[in-house]
Subunit: 183 residues, 2 copies
């Protein structure tokens, strides 16, 4: 036995092979051949998070957002404004997870559709806030229950007892990211 399997001393649980996705079993085997030491558990966590996130975004765009002609980012922007109320642009960009340049374009689109309104600040005229219009609020109130219903279907893929531990793990990751630059 070579590679990852060989490192596993007795008592070390390691990743249970029968829990792995088929592709992961092949990868473990391939790394044995390649002869490089690899933290397979870490590989698995990172690549599967990315796969899950991509699949979720695609599902939401097709099932809920597409019919309303909303991009994922436009939806998140509306949602943030709904939950938090009117916000200054740079905070809104951070919360929606986009750059300020992207936010300008998203706000242009949403404003053109009458869903949000920009407002210049009188005290500091560099600042801009954005908030939902009545029409924007109507839209997100109507749309979010459908979005959340899909979220519920996705979360239902998790076994009942693992779900809380899973949510906790996610929070540990989100709290710890981004990592400091030094490798």
């Amino acid at each position: 036995m070579t590679g990852a399997a060989a490192e596993r001393a007795e008592g070390d649980t390691g990743p249970r092979l029968d829990d792995l996705i088929e592709a992961e079993r092949d990868i473990v085997a391939r790394f044995d051949d390649v002869g490089l030491e690899v933290d397979f558990g870490a590989l698995s966590v990172v690549s599967n998070i990315y796969r899950a996130a991509s699949a979720i975004r695609r599902h939401m765009e097709q099932s809920v957002l597409g019919p309303e002609q909303l991009s994922w980012t436009a939806f998140v922007t509306l949602w943030v404004l709904w939950i938090w109320g009117e916000m200054e642009a740079r905070h809104l960009a951070a919360e929606a997870g986009v750059t300020k340049g992207t936010l300008t374009g998203v706000l242009d689109t949403l404003e053109r559709r009458g869903l949000v309104a920009r407002r210049r600040h009188d005290d500091d005229r560099r600042l801009l806030s954005a908030g939902l219009t009545a029409s924007g609020e109507e839209l997100i109130r109507r749309l979010y229950p459908r979005f959340n219903a899909q979220e519920a279907r996705i979360a239902a893929l998790l076994s009942q007892d693992g779900r809380d531990a899973f949510a906790s793990g996610l929070r540990e990751l989100v709290r710890g990211l981004p990592l400091e630059d030094p490798s």
Copy 2:
């Protein structure tokens, strides 16, 4: 399934408020105001997966991929070819998680840099395979250990006992997605 609070029978632990990220506490409070029933656990899982995935991709692009002038997708493509060997284009696209149109462009770029080579099949001339060149293999062999070291730093954010349960949960999601279309 209805609001998270409503589902919680006695003895059911539910999400512990002190485990939530600060922003999540505010969201729970806001939904109480808004007066809509929301599956908060599902909301939390989906939004945090997406946050984590975005942060991870950005971190990798800056710390490991940027200096090598590789996009995330280009890196994944090289990695897949390294692990699985020469592959037909449509399988490579599926494995890398991109459309065939995107793969054409990625292969153009990687081929121009001499990292992969296309090969037409003689038996069925519609088919195309791609494989690493010696230079491409040298690159990924040198690069992946650094990538995996960052994956390990990220996985280290997870508490030791939660890590296996977390990885299992991820696999449940990846296995179950994409969801069937019917809402």
